[in-house]
């Protein structure tokens, strides 16, 4: 999932815009907190974060994806008479494989009556293969272009996303968004739309992308042997490669990852696979990707403007 989404994100980085009347995307389950903060419950579809949305009367899911560059709408569920413009150029060779990329302007993403995200460019793509694989109706993907203006709390404990508007300096407009204590933080680099983190395993450093739609972590087999020493293989799984070629990858648990002197990760299920396409997609040299496996261990707040992650502890549940 992550891999092709990342490539989509890269491919769709063009500048073609055409206004039209697709209108509003609504999020019926969103909880309005203030005019600057909203919470949206999500469901996990396998390991994808999916929020319920509606477009032109159709209900379905939107994937929350920090790895995608833009807002993407599923062409399958767009009205046939929707005015849209075919993209005329691409920014990578992968684009040559895509013959049906279109764009449209979304007038408003209405998260609640009082909270909306105006004027976002949307890329129109056929996402029916995700629907077929995941067996859920997918209306689109919400990527970096929508998320970047907000502080985003991805909370796997309460199964919700909190979006809070930021000022120019990256401070939330609402003073008290969270009532639980932030226990730690981490700096990241933003390379185009990719959140890039530095980590170490066994005193060897590696560069990782944080991607909320990465269903499995990924690690390059070219990683330092000191790192691979802590990759404990579990099984081989067949995956479909580019050009529909099947290939086998090794899946196992990656241990002893440290993201700072205080941020430690437990073992994370990880796929050992070449990062060439990912690196092309993210425009940077990554040793791996972390996603679901990271977020299920850390209740994470992402602030693009401050280039920071913040963490809130999982509560101790009393029985």
């Amino acid at each position: 999932m992550r891999q092709w989404l990342a490539i989509l994100g890269f491919v769709l980085g063009g500048v073609v815009v055409q206004a039209s009347e697709l209108g509003r995307i609504g999020f019926p389950k969103a909880e309005w907190i203030t005019e600057n903060t909203v919470r949206i419950p999500f469901a996990l579809v396998d390991h994808l974060i999916v929020v319920e949305a509606s477009v032109l009367g159709q209900k379905g899911g939107f994937i929350i994806d920090t790895g995608a560059e833009t807002l993407i709408l599923n062409k399958v569920h767009c009205p046939k008479n929707l005015p849209m413009k075919k993209k005329t150029h691409s920014s990578s060779g992968v684009m040559s494989a895509m013959s049906d990329t279109f764009q449209n302007m979304i007038e408003k993403l209405s998260l609640t009556t009082y909270f909306s995200i105006p004027n976002k460019r949307a890329d129109i793509l056929d996402l029916s293969h995700i629907e077929k694989q995941k067996k859920v109706k997918i209306l689109g993907i919400m990527g970096h272009s929508v998320l970047k203006d907000y502080e985003i709390f991805v909370d796997f404990y309460l199964r919700q996303i909190t979006l809070s508007k930021l000022d120019k300096s990256g401070n939330t407009l609402d003073r008290d968004v969270y009532l639980e204590r932030i226990t730690d933080s981490l700096d990241f680099k933003l390379n185009r739309h990719a959140i890039v983190l530095s980590a170490t395993i066994n005193k060897s450093s590696l560069t990782l992308g944080l991607d909320t739609a990465a269903e499995l972590n990924q690690l390059t087999p070219k990683a330092n042997s000191r790192i691979l020493k802590y990759f404990y293989p579990k099984e081989r799984v067949k995956v479909m490669g580019v050009s529909q070629r099947k290939k086998e990858v090794l899946i196992g648990d990656l241990h002893r990852m440290k993201l700072s002197e205080t941020v430690f990760m437990g073992p994370m299920t990880t796929m050992l696979s070449r990062m060439d396409h990912m690196n092309q997609a993210f425009g940077t040299e990554l040793d791996g990707l972390i996603g679901y496996e990271f977020l299920k261990q850390k209740r994470t707040i992402i602030n693009y403007k401050k280039r920071k992650l913040y963490f809130i502890s999982f509560p101790i549940v009393q029985k």
Binding site: W4, I7, P41, M98, D126, R159, Q318
Partner: protein, 315 residues
């Protein structure tokens, strides 16, 4: 476009028709892994080695190994219940992010207890991508259980050969949950985690909504999916306040009622249990008319009016 469908995970194996599940049962919010010596006839050494007859085995320990613990042959050691039975209890919530898990039992840390080909919840074992002549067991987080919490009925269709229940609880699998014919109706009982689920019946290949369930939502085929709501009993407790005259439990689940939800006095405080749907709920206690958050719950949130509420997550 098709060329961008890269790295799609291929699911290895097909879901079997579920009947009595071998190797585990689900009790409340726990998975109970169960090993009984009589359920197995053959054991094999690790690495697909010698076959051994169970009758001659001196069983000193049994462990459960599976996808959930990296197939460790010793980590999840089971507790001996009697001469031939071993059990291990785990929280169901540790498994609920995946629909099914493969596992197997390990005798004395080195021998794999081989399931029979006739067991209902088996799946072919693979190693290094190669099919083995052996099977693993599968654990389903949603599964038929005659003592389960949700029963589905379809009246009529006496001549149907096969009726399947498919829904969001099993990713709309068209084979896994086969219903049973009773006198005049088809029936299946599932044990489901709390939540709202969409479902349909497949009668001899024809999909249909539940005609007797008015709760339904439109689907993408311009038809309807039926909806079932599964609740869970959730205990609430307020410690202390022994001098209080009354404590009311008020929350998003009862429309912030100020009456009718009186908690019971206990030696240590005040208690109540409510059947709640899966998901997030806001709540507060009203102690002799004074609203307060739950002092023992660190999870709190603002509502849309600037109030602070305690939050409980039902799953």
């Amino acid at each position: 476009m098709k060329k961008i469908l890269i790295y799609t995970m291929l699911l290895l194996g097909i879901l079997p028709v579920l009947a009595q599940q071998k190797g585990y049962r689900i009790e409340g919010d726990e998975v109970v892994f169960t090993f009984h010596r009589d359920d197995y006839h053959v054991a094999r050494e690790d690495g697909f080695g010698h076959k051994l007859d169970f009758d001659n085995l001196d069983i000193r320990s049994v462990a459960v190994a599976g996808e959930f613990n990296n197939w460790s042959t010793h980590q999840w050691k089971m507790v001996r219940v009697d001469n031939d039975r071993y059990e291990l209890r785990k929280k169901l919530s540790d498994f609920d992010h995946q629909f099914s898990w493969e596992f197997k039992y390990v005798i004395n840390n080195i021998l794999w207890a081989e399931p029979d080909k006739s067991d209902p919840n088996i799946t072919r074992a693979f190693k290094n991508g190669r099919k083995l002549r052996a099977y693993n067991l599968r654990l389903f987080t949603a599964r038929p259980d005659k003592n389960g919490n949700t029963t589905f009925w379809l009246n009529g269709y006496p001549k149907a050969e096969k009726v399947i229940l498919a829904g969001s609880f099993n990713k709309w699998d068209e084979q896994a949950f086969r219903m049973k014919w009773r006198e005049g109706f088809w029936e299946l009982t599932l044990q489901l985690p709390p939540g709202a689920y969409e479902y349909r019946f497949i009668v001899d290949g024809q999909w249909m909504e539940d005609p007797d369930n008015p709760q339904k939502v439109p689907n993408e085929f311009h038809e309807y999916n039926s909806v079932v709501y599964v609740t869970k009993d959730v205990p609430f407790f307020l410690k202390g306040f022994s001098d209080a005259v009354e404590v009311v439990l008020s929350g998003s689940f009862n429309d912030w009622a100020t009456e009718g939800y009186h908690m019971q006095r206990t030696p240590n405080g005040w208690a109540d249990t409510l059947a709640l749907l899966g998901g997030k709920h806001h709540y507060k206690f009203i102690v002799d008319g004074k609203w307060m958050t739950d002092p023992q719950n660190s999870v709190r949130e603002y509502d849309g009016k600037g109030n602070i509420n305690s939050v409980c997550m039902v799953r």
